[in-house]
Symmetry: C2
Subunit: 140 residues, 2 copies
DNA sequence: TTTCATGCAAACCGTTTGCATGGTG
DNA sequence: CACCATGCAAACGGTTTGCATGAAA
């Protein structure tokens, strides 16, 4: 949280109440849609505008303070920047769990990436399938 | 291409001229947006509707005949189904290129996945950064 | 006191849907 | 000839933008 605030002020952006609350929500963790973020913000900022949220989210993304991705239904999700994520997404229940193993750190792709002159900033690995529970339910 | 047509008819879907042309475009390869697909289709199907294209794309995705992903600007891209994809997406120009190396095939995550009882269906790896050209432009 | 940020509402744009028509199996 | 698929146009919903107001530095 503190580092997020510092990142924002270091970029010459003003520290408005809205921005501080937004950073608090983001610091809380999770992949949130703009709607979900606004819902949480309204608790402390009842009149905050959706436009303000979108504008700030875009600003933060451009500065690399947070990251953004689109879920399979095409809705943007935001989260405090994690430079890499490895998710297992269950096709049965939709739950996502984070995986520890990082294929990139293992150096597996290094050769191919460097061979093509590609500079990595972040990555996101999604593995889809069925979790233990949903496998059992499917077998019934 | 032939296998795509077979997959469609096997599912009990009618083989309309629009669908056949759509499959031809998809068989041509690449990650295409609906707009790009329509532009190509108009050469042979001048009156084809955007709605028809979207409807068929969604149908094909649901049947697993093609796959869909959202680029960083939130626009859907479609391609003939690959059960796994490894993409490098340039943060500068937005272009995506496919990587050959597959971290999953290398067995890196096997231990973690099997340890948790997770059954893999497909996966998608996105690596973001800057391509050679955008690195040069950024240095200017 | 000068910007920059906010709120509101309207515009945008990719995508979906209702409905009547047309073509496939 | 029964249905599914198509085309058109309108609706939808997430996101962006113009403009006047308000607050941070």
């Amino acid at each position: 949280m503190r580092s997020l605030v510092r990142a924002v002020s270091r970029q010459g952006l003003r520290l408005t109440p809205q921005r501080i609350c937004l950073l608090e929500v983001l610091a809380g963790g999770g992949d949130l849609t703009a709607e979900e973020i606004v819902a949480r913000l309204r608790k402390t900022q009842p009149h905050i505008s959706l436009a303000t949220v979108y504008r700030n989210l875009n600003t933060f993304v451009a500065l690399g303070i947070i990251s953004k991705y689109y879920s399979p239904d095409g809705v943007a999700h935001y989260r405090a920047s994690a430079r890499h994520e490895h998710l297992f997404i269950c096709l049965g229940c939709g739950d996502a769990q984070h995986l520890a193993a990082c294929p990139l750190q293992a150096g597996l792709l290094d050769e191919e990436l460097s061979g093509r002159g590609l500079q990595v900033v972040d990555h996101r690995f999604e593995i889809r399938g069925y979790c233990r529970r949903c496998q059992k339910e499917g077998a019934k």
